[in-house]
């Protein structure tokens, strides 16, 4: 076992202090306990990934990726996650700004409502969407939202690809709003006040002064929404179904492959999702690093 390096710094206040972390003998138990507890979670994740990698082979991954259903699911996943992330940003930016800058009646209620998709079981979100789109309304209760949209826009939601995007958006947007709220909280509102004395309207102050300062938050919110949408399963299964070549995304592919006993393909797709999610999370970390420096 490698011996613990102990660096003892002594001297008068004029002595230049080393920039290395100060570690004395009394610090050793602290670092042992803290790193010991922390490592249990990290080891668990690493072991899960290693188990996946050991279980599957490149042949399995190639075979899975060659299947037209999985290719279609991959394409729909990329498309739906991107659209859900963009829609989330479109909504989260103004909502995060309003919640950060203004105190208005019902603000606490809105703040709580935004948290609901985060705390609800994912299946309940999907079920709620399904009920919303199929609840009878109108004179004799003949109409549903789904039927209305199909009639007026020629656009049916339930069990079709738009339902996938809406299910992903319903959850991902909540995370984006939270990120944008914190982002605008960290931006000095006084700069927007000064911009208004210089001739800006409130909209111009938001567009020219607040928004450019929020770009890192925008990237983080977009990436979080994208990653969240990638991992969404329950609401999609309930609201959009898992029809091959139609509403199948990678998360539902894993479920479908498992249900027909094709464990190799399920693990191969899981690894593909791990790679996609890792790429997104690495981008998040890099942005976070730039923010702190």
């Amino acid at each position: 076992m490698a011996s613990t390096q102990i660096l003892i710094v002594s001297g008068s206040p004029e002595t230049p202090v080393s920039r290395l972390p100060l570690r004395t003998r009394s610090d050793v138990p602290f670092f042992v306990v803290m790193s010991g507890l922390s490592s249990t979670f990290i080891i668990l994740i690493v072991l899960m990934l290693v188990a996946n990698v050991l279980f599957t082979s490149t042949d399995d991954i190639q075979a899975a990726l060659a299947k037209p259903e999985i290719q279609a699911a991959f394409r729909l996943t990329l498309l739906s996650c991107t659209i859900a992330a963009l829609l989330s940003l479109w909504v989260a930016t103004p909502l995060g700004y309003l919640l950060s800058r203004y105190r208005f009646p019902g603000r606490t209620v809105i703040d709580t409502l935004i948290e609901i998709p985060i705390v609800l079981p994912p299946l309940v979100v999907g079920l709620s969407l399904l009920i919303l789109f199929h609840l009878p309304f109108g004179g004799e209760g003949r109409w549903t939202l789904d039927a209305f949209l199909e009639k007026s826009l020629g656009f049916q939601f339930t069990y079709r690809w738009p339902a996938v995007i809406l299910a992903q958006f319903a959850v991902a947007c909540a995370f984006s709003v939270r990120t944008m709220h914190v982002t605008f909280d960290q931006i000095n509102p006084r700069a927007e006040d000064v911009a208004r004395t210089l001739g800006c309207s409130r909209s111009q102050a938001f567009l020219y002064v607040a928004l450019p300062q929020a770009w890192r938050g925008l990237v983080t919110a977009g990436t979080t929404a994208w990653a969240r949408a990638l991992g969404e399963f329950g609401p999609i299964l309930v609201f959009a179904g898992a029809t091959r070549m139609k509403t199948e995304v990678l998360s539902t592919t894993v479920f479908l492959e498992l249900s027909i006993g094709n464990l190799n393909a399920a693990v191969a797709v899981s690894l593909l999702m791990v790679i996609m999610a890792s790429l997104v999370l690495v981008i998040l970390r890099l942005i976070g690093l730039r923010l702190t420096t």
């Binding site: 006084r190 000064v194 208004r196 004395t197 210089l198 001739g199 111009q204 450019p212």
Partner: protein, 215 residues
């Protein structure tokens, strides 16, 4: 001229009632008072950033009580300066001029004029992050003066500066005053600032303004 007539303004639970005072055109007035007495609240009300519950605010004999901040022609330097972190010094000076649709030639000429007046011409293409305290003060001042406002409101602009930079800024503010003739209302709790710069001192005490002429 800044003329406040029985102005009542509220900030949360804090309330200033029926405040009246006049600063003549071309004056440099220092508004003094202890911390938490409402000096900043009053300045924000004059800028139009805080609604006035009662009374009137007149600038050069025009009632601007309910005007939008941008229509009042007031240059404002807040205590924390609130520079725009994503912009260069040049963009700060151009900001108000672009909003007023000045021609490119006029914008360039005015930016050069302001930069030379404040001694920041060499900093024009630098971002504001990393500027020293004195340099940041000059940029905030230049941004506020760029569109030739009739009134300049300064909210404790020198409070965070060391003594040497403070003395340097006295010179800058005096030369700006002389060059532009702008009417200045300068909030400070530092008697030295008031004595060095102002020809009129207003003291906010118990919600009332007590005035005295220095010269």
């Amino acid at each position: 001229m800044i003329d406040l007539r029985n102005v009542t303004v509220q900030a949360g639970t804090f309330r200033l009632e029926r405040v009246s005072f006049t600063v003549q055109a071309g004056d440099y007035a220092a508004l003094m008072g202890r911390t938490g007495r409402g000096k900043t609240t009053l300045l924000e009300a004059i800028c139009g950033l805080r609604p006035v519950m009662a009374g009137q605010i007149l600038l050069h004999d025009t009632d601007v009580t309910h005007w939008a901040p941008g229509d009042r022609q007031i240059g404002y330097v807040p205590q924390d300066l609130a520079l725009f972190p994503t912009m260069t010094v040049r963009h700060h000076f151009e900001f108000a001029l672009r909003l007023r649709h000045w021609s490119t030639a006029d914008v360039t000429a005015r930016v050069t004029e302001v930069a030379e007046m404040l001694g920041v011409a060499r900093l024009l293409d630098r971002r504001v992050k990393g500027l020293s305290g004195g340099e940041s003060q000059r940029v905030a001042l230049g941004r506020a003066l760029s569109f030739r406002p009739q009134v300049l409101l300064l909210d404790e602009p020198l409070s965070a500066l060391d003594q040497e930079t403070r003395q340097e800024m006295y010179g800058v503010l005096k030369s700006v005053k002389q060059a532009t003739g702008v009417t200045v209302l300068h909030v400070t709790h530092n008697r030295e600032d008031a004595e060095a710069l102002a020809n009129r001192t207003l003291v906010l005490h118990d919600g009332q303004i007590h005035a005295k002429n220095v010269d």
